[in-house]
C-alpha cells in the first residue's frame, strides 16, 4: 500500500486532503506541525510527503532541508502545498529539494490525479 505523510497545521485543510486521498485507498499519516512531520519522516519510509510551508515550530522548507540530510531520505518524494505561490517561493523550494509545488487554493480532484501519477 502506498504510504503518504500529510503535514498541515490547518485542521480543515488536513481533513479535506485526508478525506480525498483516503477514498483512493492510500495509507496516510498526519502531522499538525513541522516537528511532528520531521519525527515521522525520520521513523517511517513514505512514498510521498506532502507539506505545508507555513507551520508552527518548523516551516515546511526547514523540515525538507533537514530531511534531505537524513540517510536514505535524499530521494523521498516531497510535495509542497502552500499559499506562498510567488516564483521566488517556487525557486527557493526547488533549490531545497521539493519535487512538486502546488499552490493554494487547489482542486482536490486535480491533486488526486497528480498524486496518482507520482506514486504509480
Amino acid at each position: 500500500m502506498v504510504k503518504i505523510l500529510l503535514a498541515e497545521d490547518e485542521e480543515v485543510l488536513r481533513m479535506l486532503v485526508l478525506d480525498t486521498l483516503e477514498d483512493e485507498g492510500y495509507d496516510i499519516d498526519e502531522a499538525p506541525d513541522g516537528l511532528e512531520a520531521y519525527r515521522l519522516i525520520e521513523q517511517n519510509e513514505y512514498d510521498l510527503v506532502i507539506v505545508d510551508h507555513m507551520m508552527p515550530g518548523m516551516t515546511g522548507l526547514e523540515v525538507i532541508e533537514k530531511v534531505r540530510k537524513l540517510p536514505g531520505r535524499q530521494h523521498t518524494k516531497v510535495m509542497m502545498l502552500t499559499a506562498k505561490s510567488q516564483q521566488s517561493d517556487r525557486d527557493c523550494a526547488n533549490e531545497i529539494g521539493v519535487d512538486y509545488f502546488i499552490s493554494k487554493p487547489f482542486s482536490p480532484l486535480e491533486l488526486v490525479k497528480i498524486i496518482g501519477g507520482i506514486v504509480n
Binding site: 485543510l13 481533513m15 479535506l16 499538525p32 506541525d33 499559499a83 487554493p105 487547489f106 482536490p108 480532484l109
Partner: protein, 852 residues
C-alpha cells in the same frame, strides 16, 4: 753601620726582616732533615718486620710440607715422598740461617736457637726412625697397622739414639716426640706476636714524628706574623708621622705662616731631603710674593692711564650710537611701511583696520589718526587711533573740519591752527591736520578718508607722498577685502544650504583635486569623524572613498561605481547599498558640474532610503501575508465545494462539509472585515464618531452576552467607585475593542476559569483591565503581540483560531482615542490586558483648547 741605616727609610726594618727570614729558613731545613731521617728509619724498620713475618710463614709451610711427605711414606711406603721430606732439610736450614744472620735482639737469638734445635731433632731423629720403621714394615719384620712404641724401640737407630741421650725415653711415657714439636710451635707463635707488637710501636713513633712536623710548620707561620706586627707596624707609624708633619707645614705655608722644619732637615733619609726641599720652596715663595707686590704697583699706574683712554673711546661710541639710532629709526620706519603693506595684502577682514591706522600714525610721526569709511546713504564708520569720541564727532559734524571740506572737495585738504591754551600741552603750539580721500578703483567714488594729526611740524613732502601712495594701496585692498567677504558670505551660504539638506554630499574639484563634504556625510558615516577630525582637510578623494567603502556591505558595488566617476564611463544611474550590516540603506548617484561646457567637478550624493526601503519591505510582506491568510479559508471552500459538486458523497459527509464551508466563509468574512479595519485605521481614514460615553453599562451588556455563550467561564466586573466611567469615545469602536479583548480572554482560556474586568478612575484617565486565567503568553512573544498577523507560535495557541488582526485593531482603536494598551502575562497562569483612555473631561479639554 748606624749611618748606613739612617740613609734610607726602611733599611733597618728590612735588615731585621732578612735576618729573621734566614734564621727561619735554616731552622726549617734542619728540622725537616731531622724528622725526615726519623721517618726513613721507621719505614725501613717496618720493611724488616714485614720480611721476618713473611719468612716465618714460609718456614712454617716448609716444615708442614716435610711432615706431610713423611706421613705419606709411612702410610703408603712411597719412597719418593720420603726423599721429598729429606730434601726440605736444606731449604729449612737456609731459612734458619737467614734468621740467624739478622739477629738484633735477645728474643731473636732465642728464636734462632729454637729453630736450629727443632731442625736437628726432626731431621736427625724423627725422619731416620720413621725411615727405618718404614723399611722394616716393607721387609715384613713389622706387621702392625699403627706404629707401636715397643717396636720402634727395638729398631737399631732408636736404640742408638736413646743410648746417645738424644731421645728421652721412659717406660711410662715412651719416646718423647711431641715435646720438641710443641716447643717449636709455641716459639713460632711467640715470635709472630713479638713482630706484631714491634710493628705497632714503629707506627706510633711514625705518627708522633708527623705531628712534630706539622707543629713546626704552624709555629713558623705564627712567628712570622708576630714579627710583622712587632716591627713593621711601629715603623710605618713613625714614618707617616713625619710625613704628616710635612703636610701640616705645607698647609701653614699656604696660609702664609712661617714654618720651621730644622729638626727634620738634619735627617739623612728621604724625609730629610723632602724637608730641605720644602724649606727652599718656602723661601722662594716669599721672594716671589715680594716681587709680585712691586709688579702690582706698576700695573695700577698703567690701568689708570687705560681708564682715561677708555673714557675717550666711550665718548666716541656714544656718538656712533646716536648715528645708529638714527639709522634704526629709519629702518623701523621702513619696517612699519612693509608691515603696513603686508597687513593690507594679507588681511581679509575689518579687524585689520585698527592695526592699519596705528601703523600709519607711526610712519608719519603723527599723534592721532583715523580711517573714516563712507557707507551707503552717507553714513560713516570710523576706526581711530588716539581720537576720543568728542573729537570724532566734531570732525564728522563740524562744517569747517578738514574732513568735511575734503568730502566736499573730494581731494586732499590740509590745515594748521594754533591750539587753545586749555590743551594739555604747556605751551602754545600748532596742530597740523590732513585728510586724504581714498577712491574706489572701479568707479572713482570716494569710499574712505585717511585723517592724520601732528603737532609742532607740518607734514613733510615725503610724508605726504607716503600717505597718498598708501591711500591708493588702501583703496585696492578695500576692494579686495570686500570681494573676499562677499565670497566668504556666499561660501557660508552654500555650506549652510548643503549642511541643511538631508542628502550627504562629496564634491571633488577637478582642477585642484580638493574635496568638499557636507555635515550630513559625517552623520551618515561617523567613521569619517574619527579619522578626519585631525587631518580633515588633507584627506584626498581616494581616502574618503576607501573609508566609506569599509562601511559598505556591498563593498565591490560601491568601489566599481565610484571607480567610473573620473573616467569617460561616467555613471548616470544610481546605485543602492546598505551600510554597517544593514543598519542603513543608501542610494548613491553622481553628477558632473559643468560650467561653460567644461566639467569643473564631480558631485557624489548619498540619500538615506532606509525608511523607504523598510516601508517597501513591510508593504510587500503585508500583501504576502494577506494573500496567505486569504488562501487558507479559500482552499477549504474551494476544495469542499469541488468534492460536493463532483463526487457522490454520503449525507453525513455532505452535512459536515457544508458546515465547514460555512465556518470558513465566516472566517473569511471576519478576515476581510478586520483587514479593512486595520487598513483604514492605519491610513488614518478611520472616522470616530465620538460622544460622551459611560462605559460601565456597555461592558455589563457585553459581559452578559459572553457569559451566556460560555458555560466554563465566570465573569466579574470590579469598579473602584460609584462615579460614572465616562470617556469621549466612539461607542461602536469601543464595543469592538471590548469584544476583541473579551473573546480573546475566552478563547485563550480553553479550560475555563475566571474572567475579571476592572474599571478604575485616575487623574486624567480611566483604566480598563481584562484579566483571564488562561494559557498566558510566552515572554518572547510579548513584544510582537500587537504586530499584524502575529500569532503566538506554540501548540496551545495553535488549536485556537484567529486572524491575527484582533489585537492590532484593539491597539489602533485605543490610539484613536489617545490612549494606551499594554499586556502583562505569565505563561500557564493567565494574561491581563490594560487599556488606559483619557477621561471624558480631560479629553474635551485637550480636544478643544481654542474654543474654551
Amino acid at each position: 753601620m748606624n749611618r748606613w741605616f739612617k740613609q734610607k727609610l726602611g733599611r733597618d726594618v728590612m735588615f731585621v726582616l732578612y735576618a729573621f727570614l734566614t734564621i727561619a729558613l735554616l731552622g726549617s731545613v734542619f728540622t725537616y732533615t731531622y724528622v725526615d731521617n726519623r721517618l726513613e728509619a721507621n719505614e725501613s724498620r717496618l720493611r724488616d718486620l714485614d720480611e721476618r713475618v713473611t719468612r716465618l710463614n714460609a718456614l712454617w709451610d716448609e716444615w708442614q710440607g716435610a711432615q706431610y711427605a713423611s706421613r705419606g711414606y709411612l702410610l703408603f711406603g712411597d719412597v719418593a715422598a720420603l726423599e721429598r721430606a729429606r730434601s726440605k732439610e736444606n731449604e729449612f736450614q737456609q731459612e734458619i740461617n737467614w734468621f740467624k744472620s739478622v739477629i738484633r735482639t735477645r728474643q731473636g737469638e732465642i728464636f734462632a736457637e729454637d729453630l736450629q734445635n727443632f731442625h736437628d731433632f726432626y731431621f736427625d731423629v724423627i725422619l731416620p726412625v720413621t725411615f727405618e720403621y718404614g723399611e722394616a714394615r716393607q721387609n715384613g719384620e713389622v706387621t702392625e697397622t699403627f706404629i707401636d712404641p715397643e717396636t720402634v724401640l727395638s729398631l737399631p737407630t732408636a736404640q742408638r739414639l736413646i743410648e746417645q741421650g738424644v731421645v728421652q725415653y721412659s717406660p711410662e711415657r715412651g719416646i718423647d716426640t711431641l715435646g720438641p714439636i710443641e716447643q717449636i710451635e709455641t716459639s713460632l707463635a711467640d715470635y709472630q706476636t713479638l713482630m706484631e707488637s714491634e710493628k705497632e710501636k714503629v707506627y706510633a713513633e711514625w705518627r708522633q714524628n708527623n705531628g712534630i712536623l706539622q707543629f713546626l710548620w704552624i709555629a713558623s707561620i705564627l712567628s712570622f706574623a708576630v714579627l710583622i706586627l712587632m716591627f713593621v707596624q711601629p715603623f710605618l707609624r713613625r714614618q707617616s708621622g713625619l710625613i704628616s708633619r710635612l703636610s701640616i707645614a705645607s698647609d701653614r705655608l699656604l696660609k702664609g705662616e712661617i714654618v720651621d722644619l730644622s729638626d727634620q732637615m738634619v735627617r739623612e733619609d728621604e724625609i730629610g731631603t723632602m724637608s730641605r726641599s720644602f724649606n727652599k720652596m718656602a723661601e722662594t715663595l716669599r721672594d716671589n710674593e715680594r716681587h709680585l707686590i712691586e709688579k702690582n704697583h706698576e700695573l695700577q699706574a698703567q690701568q689708570e692711564e687705560l681708564i682715561a683712554q677708555q673714557e675717550e673711546l666711550q665718548a666716541q661710541q656714544q656718538e656712533l650710537e646716536e648715528i645708529l639710532e638714527q639709522t634704526q629709526q629709519n629702518e623701523q620706519h621702513l619696517a612699519y611701511r612693509n608691515e603696513l603693506t603686508e597687513t593690507l595684502a594679507a588681511r581679509d577682514s575689518l579687524t585689520a583696520y585698527p592695526e592699519i591706522i596705528e601703523k600709519l600714525v607711526a610712519i608719519t610721526d603723527s599723534e592721532v589718526g583715523a580711517l573714516v569709511f563712507v557707507g551707503e546713504s552717507g553714513s560713516y564708520s570710523v576706526t581711530s587711533h588716539g581720537l576720543n569720541e568728542t573729537l570724532t564727532r566734531q570732525l564728522l559734524e563740524s562744517e569747517n573740519s578738514v574732513l568735511t571740506r575734503a568730502m566736499t572737495l573730494r581731494t586732499t585738504v590740509h590745515s594748521s591752527k594754533q591750539v587753545a591754551s586749555d590743551h594739555p600741552l604747556p605751551y602754545p603750539y600748532y596742530m597740523y591736520e590732513t585728510a586724504v580721500p581714498v577712491h574706489d578703483p572701479t568707479d572713482d567714488t570716494v569710499i574712505a578718508f585717511i585723517y592724520l594729526v601732528r603737532y609742532k611740524d607740518r607734514f613733510t613732502q615725503t610724508q605726504m607722498g607716503d600717505i597718498t601712495s598708501f591711500a591708493r594701496q588702501l583703496s585696492l585692498s578695500l576692494l579686495r577685502m570686500r570681494l573676499f567677504e562677499e565670497m566668504t558670505r556666499e561660501k557660508g551660504k552654500t555650506e549652510r544650504i548643503l549642511d541643511s539638506i538631508r542628502e550627504a554630499v562629496i564634491y571633488v574639484e577637478h582642477a585642484t583635486d580638493d574635496v568638499f563634504v557636507n555635515r550630513p556625510l559625517y552623520e551618515m558615516f561617523p567613521e569619517l569623524d574619527e579619522i578626519s577630525s585631525n587631518e580633515l582637510n588633507e584627506l584626498s578623494w581616494n581616502e574618503w572613498r576607501e573609508t566609506i567603502s569599509t562601511t559598505v556591505d556591498q563593498e565591490d558595488d560601491f568601489l566599481k561605481y565610484t571607480e567610473r566617476l573620473f573616467t569617460d564611463d561616467f555613471p548616470h544611474d544610481s546605485v543602492s547599498f546598505s551600510i554597517r550590516k544593514g543598519e542603513m540603506n543608501l542610494q548613491m548617484y553622481a553628477e558632473r558640474i559643468i560650467v561653460g561646457g567644461v566639467s569643473k567637478g564631480t558631485l557624489l550624493v548619498f540619500r538615506d532610503i532606509t525608511s523607504e526601503t523598510e516601508a517597501e519591505r513591510l508593504k510587500s510582506e503585508f500583501i504576502s501575508t494577506i494573500s496567505h491568510e486569504l488562501r487558507t479559508p479559500l482552499s477549504s471552500i474551494y476544495g469542499f465545494t469541488e468534492l460536493m459538486v463532483k463526487k457522490q458523497l454520503p449525507n453525513d459527509k455532505q452535512a459536515k462539509y457544508l458546515e465547514t464551508i460555512h465556518a470558513e466563509t465566516e472566517r473569511l468574512t471576519h478576515l476581510v472585515n478586520d483587514f479593512l479595519d486595520v487598513q483604514r485605521m492605519e491610513a488614518g481614514s478611520q472616522m470616530y464618531d465620538r460622544e460622551q460615553l459611560d462605559v460601565e453599562p456597555v461592558i455589563r451588556d457585553m459581559m452578559t452576552f459572553y457569559e451566556a455563550s460560555s458555560l466554563k467561564h465566570q465573569f466579574e466586573l470590579i469598579t473602584s467607585d460609584d462615579r460614572p466611567y465616562e470617556l469621549f469615545a466612539d461607542c461602536q469602536k469601543f464595543k469592538q475593542l471590548m469584544s476583541n479583548l473579551l473573546s480573546n480572554a475566552v478563547k485563550y482560556s480553553p479550560n475555563g476559569g475566571k474572567i475579571t474586568i476592572e474599571l478604575a478612575h485616575h487623574d486624567q484617565s480611566v483604566s480598563i483591565k481584562v484579566k483571564d486565567e488562561g494559557i498566558g503568553i510566552p515572554s518572547e512573544a510579548l513584544d510582537r503581540l500587537f504586530d499584524k498577523f502575529y500569532r503566538v507560535d506554540n501548540s496551545d495557541s495553535r488549536e485556537i483560531g484567529g486572524t491575527g488582526l484582533g489585537l492590532p485593531i484593539c491597539q489602533e482603536i485605543v490610539r484613536g482615542h489617545a490612549g494606551q494598551i499594554h499586556v502583562e502575562s505569565v505563561q500557564h497562569k493567565g494574561s491581563t490586558f490594560t487599556v488606559v483612555i483619557p477621561s471624558y473631561e480631560h479629553a474635551i479639554r485637550e480636544e478643544t483648547p481654542a474654543t474654551v
